[in-house]
């Protein structure tokens, strides 16, 4: 009845990966993307004449298996040979730079503790790693595959050895603060070590249930959680995904927002029959895979009337408020950060865990923090072509900025925050203000509107323990299939979660092909 086997909604990295893997397996795949360009939050955009950047500024969670499965290296993706250093900046302490297991600038006791800390986390991360690339077992299921996955997890835990296994269970749901407090004393170091456990989430160092797990998930990527920028910039990653999709025969349509996932009903029940685009065009297919976030997919595109009551209310209640704003600055020259020769790698502008916590306290009540915390990167140090010669881009993840600002987001509110952030940067990099040629601030509300992500949440839904593993996004939709026959999920709202890992897209494709 229809010549398309599969329609993929959304051309972010997960949609592209899922589409490519299905096309490589022989399916006829059409991918529809609402925006005019592919790549989602990782797509390249000119934010100031001559200056290009993407919301996603580094790669860290991408597993080698995804790169291999799509032959991305053949398509021009050159993973960076070197990872980025992470530097903890403080106005009162000297910078501390981390690179793998190396640490420079910390006090001797912290420096001595660091290698052991990294080693232990790496052990835990390796034990968990296989689960990020597996379909989670169904709760209550007794099928062979489900039991095998449970068994595998149990075995991996057991092979950690008794002491490490017990320690793993102790720390897995600790707040980040408790974990780093056990090992370190330096305030800025502890703040920087918290960072990758909380980045992009609704929680802060003191919040339990999530930070350490998120960190371990991120450490399962290609470089054990170290960040990197591929040669040629983030754009080359998306470019390679598009080339891989093209080579596999995926039909990609941009500027084609989906209005509705169409559901047909008969005495046999309901099933997904395709999509209706906002322009009125109807595409039919026996299978639709959505990389849109779960709330958008179920509540807007399917509609609760086609779902069950408890299920649709669970989707409604999913926590999906984003608290990261993106700041891009177009700079006329390279800024000079106090204490650093070159502002290379990632700079964490969070003097202490309390600073982070206080920033979150303000944001959760809808206010802009007095002192936001930032993760700053100058991508033009590795990809100078993104800005005119000799000029630079500063890209910052700013936390915590509420999507629902108490007084509402206005141009004036955006301008005020931009000015506040530049002033704050000026403290760390005197003279930077004079270099600013242009700027762009994307609040979580802007991310929601421009990238169609509910709440502007990086990970579509909060990666907390109640929304992870076989609960992601919620039970009855946690194995990529949904209660609607023919409809699947493949986005960040599915196991194992967000970041640019490609795991949800790859796992969904494998589940569908199995």
């Amino acid at each position: 009845m229809s010549s398309t086997d599969t329609i993929i909604i959304g051309g972010g990295h997960n949609g592209l990966i899922c589409a490519t893997l299905l096309a490589k397996a022989g399916q006829k795949v059409v991918l529809v993307e609402a925006a005019d360009t592919l790549g989602g939050l990782a797509r390249d955009r000119e934010f100031h004449p001559g200056f290009k950047a993407s919301v996603a500024q580094t790669l860290y969670a991408l597993p080698t298996s995804v790169i291999k499965a799509l032959d991305l290296e053949q398509q021009g993706f050159i993973p960076s040979k070197e990872t980025l250093t992470t530097t903890a900046l403080s106005l009162t302490e000297p910078p501390i730079t981390l690179a793998g297991a190396r640490i420079v600038g910390a006090c001797p006791t912290d420096a001595a503790a660091f290698a052991n800390y990294k080693q232990q986390l790496a052990t835990f991360s390796k034990a968990l790693a296989p689960f990020w690339s597996k379909t989670m077992p169904r709760i209550g299921a007794t099928g062979f595959q489900d039991l095998l996955t449970f068994g595998h997890l149990g075995l991996n835990m057991r092979t950690l050895g008794k002491a490490d296994m017990l320690e793993f269970f102790r720390v897995a749901t600790l707040p980040m603060r408790d974990l780093v407090d056990e090992h370190f004393s330096g305030e800025s170091l502890k703040a920087a070590l918290c960072w990758d456990g909380i980045l992009g989430s609704q929680l802060a160092p003191r919040s339990p249930n999530q930070g350490v797990l998120t960190l371990l998930n991120r450490m399962a990527g290609q470089w054990e959680g170290e960040h990197s920028v591929p040669a040629g910039g983030m754009a080359t990653f998306i470019g390679a995904l598009i080339k891989a999709a093209t080579a596999a025969g995926v039909t990609m349509r941009t500027g084609a927002p989906v209005k509705q996932i169409t559901i047909s009903g008969s005495e046999q029940g309901q099933r997904c029959s395709g999509v209706a685009l906002e322009n009125g065009e109807v595409l039919t297919s026996e299978r639709v895979i959505s990389s849109a976030d779960p709330k958008t997919t179920f509540l807007n595109l399917v509609g609760p009337r086609h779902l069950e009551i408890e299920f649709s209310n669970r989707i409604r209640r999913l926590r999906s408020k984003g608290y990261v704003a993106k700041l891009h600055l177009a700079l006329s020259g390279l800024p000079k950060f106090s204490g650093l020769d070159t502002p290379s790698g990632r700079l964490i502008l969070a003097p202490s865990m309390d600073t982070i916590e206080f920033a979150w306290d303000a944001a959760k009540y809808g206010e802009i923090p007095d002192q936001p915390v930032m993760d700053v990167c100058l991508p033009t140090l590795t990809t100078p072509g993104d800005a005119p010669a000799g000029q630079h881009i500063l890209s910052a993840n700013v936390m915590y900025i509420p999507g629902e600002l108490k007084e509402g987001w206005t141009d004036a509110a955006r301008d005020n925050l931009t000015a506040q952030l530049i002033t704050q940067l000026e403290d760390y990099a005197p003279g930077i203000k004079a270099l600013v040629l242009g700027s762009e601030l994307l609040t979580p509300e802007d991310l929601q509107q421009q990238f169609r992500v509910s709440g502007g949440h990086w990970h579509h839904i909060e990666p907390a323990i109640d929304q992870l593993l076989m609960m992601r996004p919620t039970y009855e939709a946690a194995q990529y299939a949904t209660p609607i026959e023919g409809l699947y999920l493949c986005g960040s709202g599915s196991h194992p979660a967000g970041d640019i890992s490609g795991n949800p897209g790859r796992n969904a494709a494998r589940e569908i092909l199995s």
Binding site: S264, G265, S266, E267, Q268, G269, Q270, L299, G303, P304, R305, H306, L307, E308, I309, E310, F311, S312, N313, R316, E476, P483
Partner: protein, 406 residues
């Protein structure tokens, strides 16, 4: 609209919020409650019986009686999405429900476990009245997610409702000047001028006999009562309470919450609630509908067949098998189910029961172990049970139109 304050006995009372609410008919019912036998239903003071359970039961079967349904929960669901929302919620096909008709429905959670049963009145193209035994506003609100052109209004206290049941019920209506209601077929709704307003009459009830439910604005409640009791004086009219209702409904084979089924949303133990299929309500489940809540789970159970089934039993002897267990052998070694409701039926002259029984055991012998007391001494009796297909009680007069006067 009703003023909740007038429903309470004494608003100056510091315990006013704790006390039971009073029905719109309370004044008249209290005067007739000779035994002060009050219990409660949904926070309303409610008569268990008024004078004598057996007497009230015989009024239902031989003359007529009134039963207060003010505490029954009522919701108005109105708007262009009302039909679609309710149709997705309940297991029956509501598109078949015509205006001024009533239908008996059940609704389930996602797992197909029954939350409650009730009736839906189609008052207009997009206006429905839902009635049920327990409050379900929270579930209605959840069910309304995604249906934006819709209002769900708590309507319980905005209506005064009385059930008039028994063979002389129509004769009483006729004597009141409501002879026009004689054209109502079972599950029909009619609207008639009454006093200075209007009365809605539905040919519905919970006794399995000829009967009507009468609906007026609260300000007409006592007028309605007085007209009924004046007209009914020669037709044996008598208020009846919960106890007589429970007898009548069991004879009719109707299920009761907390007897035959445990409401799914209030059930703690896994699968201690029931599905409509287990409750022998498969006729309420329309799998031809592409979607309704619980359909997928119910379809799965339909394909494999439910493990237990609510079954009507005739039991030898005359000792009610209340709370008894069922066995496949006289020695009572192999347990196969349990009795949910049981009574000696005066009208059928039989020892009847509703019971949940393992489907596999239905074709074999069924025995029950009955405990009963005689002047403080406890006795045990093992009695043979036989499965009955038809309702225990279902007289022709419950169905004929125009209805008989006796």
């Amino acid at each position: 609209m009703s003023n909740p304050d007038i429903l309470r006995e004494n608003t100056a009372d510091p315990y006013a919020g704790e006390r039971l609410k009073l029905s719109h008919f309370h004044e008249r019912q209290a005067a007739l409650n000779l035994r002060d036998a009050w219990s409660s239903w949904n926070g309303f003071k409610f008569a268990d019986y008024y004078y004598d359970v057996d007497y009230e039961y015989f009024c239902i079967r031989n003359t007529c009686g009134t039963y207060d349904i003010c505490p029954m929960q009522k919701y108005l669901i109105e708007g262009p999405d009302a039909l679609a929302m309710l149709d997705r919620m309940v297991t029956r096909d509501l598109n078949k429900l015509r205006i001024n008709r009533v239908t008996y429905v059940a609704w389930c959670n996602d797992s197909g476990r029954m939350i409650d049963d009730g009736t839906i009145f189609r008052l207009d193209e997009s206006k429905f009245l839902l009635t049920c035994g327990s409050p379900c506003l929270a579930w209605l609100r959840k069910s309304a997610l995604g249906f934006d052109q819709l209002s769900v209004i708590e309507h319980t206290e905005a209506l005064a409702a009385l059930s008039l049941q028994g063979p002389t019920s129509f004769a009483v209506l006729k004597a009141m000047g409501l002879e026009a209601a004689g054209s109502l077929k079972p599950f029909d709704i009619g609207h008639y001028p009454f006093a200075e307003g209007e009365i809605m009459i539905s040919r519905t009830g919970f006794t399995g006999d000829l009967g009507y439910e009468l609906w007026v604005e609260p300000n007409l409640a006592l007028t309605l009562w007085d007209h009924l009791y004046e007209a009914g004086a020669n037709y044996g009219i008598q208020p009846y309470g919960e106890a007589a209702t429970n007898m009548a409904r069991l004879e009719a084979g109707f299920i009761m919450p907390y007897m035959e089924f445990n409401e799914a949303l209030k059930t703690v133990n896994f699968e201690y609630d029931q599905t409509p299929l287990e409750l022998d309500l498969a006729w309420l489940v329309d799998f031809k509908k592409p979607h309704f809540n619980g359909r997928r789970a119910l379809l799965e159970q339909h394909k494999s067949g439910p493990k237990m089934l609510l079954t009507k039993l005739n039991i030898e002897g005359n000792k009610p098998a209340e709370e008894a267990l069922l066995y496949s052998d006289r020695a009572c070694n192999n347990e196969i189910g349990y009795v949910t409701s049981a009574m000696w039926s005066p009208s059928v002259k039989a020892n009847i029961a509703l019971a949940m029984i393992d489907v596999d055991a239905l074709s074999g012998e069924i025995w029950t172990e009955i405990y009963y007391q005689k002047e403080l001494r406890h006795h045990r009796k093992v009695a043979r049970c036989t499965v009955q297909k038809k309702a225990f009680w279902g007289p022709e007069r419950a169905r004929t139109t125009p209805p008989s006067l006796t």
